[in-house]
């Protein structure tokens, strides 16, 4: 016998979160308030994603966790273990094998498929927060579709930097109605928000849940003279040679030599296993 409930959370809490998820799916991009619970997680990772995963998990799921693209960080490992233990689910590092993927700061490179669920850990769910600190005011702005200030801010970025400088958490318009923060994913990932998968977003501290159903229209905000660009660092992965994946710059040695490698560790590993080799890679 175990002394905790299936997937840790009690049934009443799960029901409350599940009702919020359904309303979120019915109104894509709208932030549904929910009563966030404490979770036994190390400080700093946030609990919104974990609470969503606990509410959607079934015993038959295969669970994957990525943190900035990697399956191996302390937090990714501990969250994976948490659900392995409390929900008895199978775990994987392979994007294709996973039925539920919890993520922080990336969307996997491997295209998601119908039936998969992507759960985002969100630190700040309100895309208008940097313009307006008051929750009462931002809620009003969303209700009135008052997004002019957001456009002005983006345009200021262009006039100052010659391009839209916002590289992460680049705001999107969901189904022509709600401006949404896609969480701090690189804007390179924004086009993947249009997906066959079910996407759920959870912010624990700010107590918000929102959702993007499969194939929902998601458009990155831009301007006619400055169209949106899903940019990334130039070049190819030094390990697997991929030139179409999001790259992280890593320092190789004390002399400060640097190289670019795939941020998505499963994508990189899979490519290398198939024989792809980059400039610094060794054939596996």
């Amino acid at each position: 016998m175990t002394d905790y409930n299936f997937a840790y959370l009690d049934e009443q809490t799960k029901r409350m979160i599940r009702r919020a998820i359904l309303k979120g799916l019915a109104v894509p991009g709208y932030q549904v308030p929910f009563a966030s619970r404490e979770m036994p997680m190390p400080y700093g990772w946030g609990t919104g994603g974990v609470q969503l995963s606990a509410a959607v998990m079934t015993p038959d799921d295969t669970f994957k966790v990525i943190d900035q693209g990697s399956d191996d960080t302390t937090n990714a490992v501990s969250i994976r273990r948490f659900f392995e233990r409390t929900a008895g689910v199978a775990v994987t590092e392979e994007t294709q094998e996973a039925t539920v993927i919890q993520t922080r700061h990336r969307i996997p490179e491997t295209p998601l498929e119908a039936g998969q669920i992507l759960v985002y850990q969100v630190p700040i769910p309100e895309p208008l927060r940097f313009l307006e600190p008051s929750e009462v005011e931002t809620r009003k702005m969303h209700s009135l579709e008052e997004y002019g200030l957001m456009h002005v801010k983006l345009y200021e970025d262009i006039s100052q930097h010659g391009a839209i400088a916002t590289a992460y958490a680049y705001p999107v318009m969901v189904r022509d109605r709600y401006v949404m923060d896609p969480s701090p994913i690189p804007k390179f990932d924004n086009p993947k928000l249009h997906s066959p998968a079910i996407q759920l977003f959870g912010a624990g501290r700010e107590q918000r849940i929102y959702a993007v159903p499969p194939f929902t229209k998601v458009v990155s905000l831009d301007f006619e003279d400055y169209p949106f660009e899903a940019s990334k660092a130039e070049g190819a992965c030094a390990l697997c040679g991929a030139d179409n994946s999001y790259l992280d710059e890593v320092i190789m040695d004390d002399a400060g030599h640097r190289m670019f490698v795939c941020s998505d560790s499963d994508f990189c590993t899979t490519r290398r296993a198939r024989g792809h080799v980059g400039t610094e890679g060794v054939p596996s």
Partner: protein, 187 residues
Amino acid sequence: MQAQMLEGGFAEAPRDAAIAFRAAMRAMAMPGAIETLTGAAGPAPLSPAASVLLLTLCDPDTPIHLAWAHDTQDVQEWITFHTGAPFVAADQAMFALGSWEALAPHQDYAIGTAEYPDRAATLIVEMPALAAQGACLSGPGIETEAQLTVPDIAFSQVNARLYPLGVDMFLTHGNRVAALPRSTQVR
């Protein structure tokens, strides 16, 4: 009657509810998709699918409106025993349950507010049939188009025009369920 009240619940609530919620979530995320709900069965005229939805989503925090044929002592006792949800008039309901005709007048249900569109009712509509044919659906969750038997095309068109306000529906028949959120265009 006492025995009937006690029966028909989930055998293993946490797991049964998790599996049921996955089906309900898939239905709401992909309007037109027909999913299966099993594991619970309340007294007639409750369908197994509606019974499972109630056990999965309702509790003392979710006022329920029972419409006509579903507003029986058997059904009330079963819901009270298994969920603890209070019974209320249509305009106070977070969930409403019945046939489409019985749920009238349909404009009585909460459609949410401009700042809180989530504060809208979810109707559980017991259908005489449920199949991937009939009305044509489009919108979030649907790649191109989907077909589904819906209770009232004209109502759904009015409801969709209220977006982002409006009611959301689960359509149930036997152990099958589909959903019609307010975001779906119906013709």
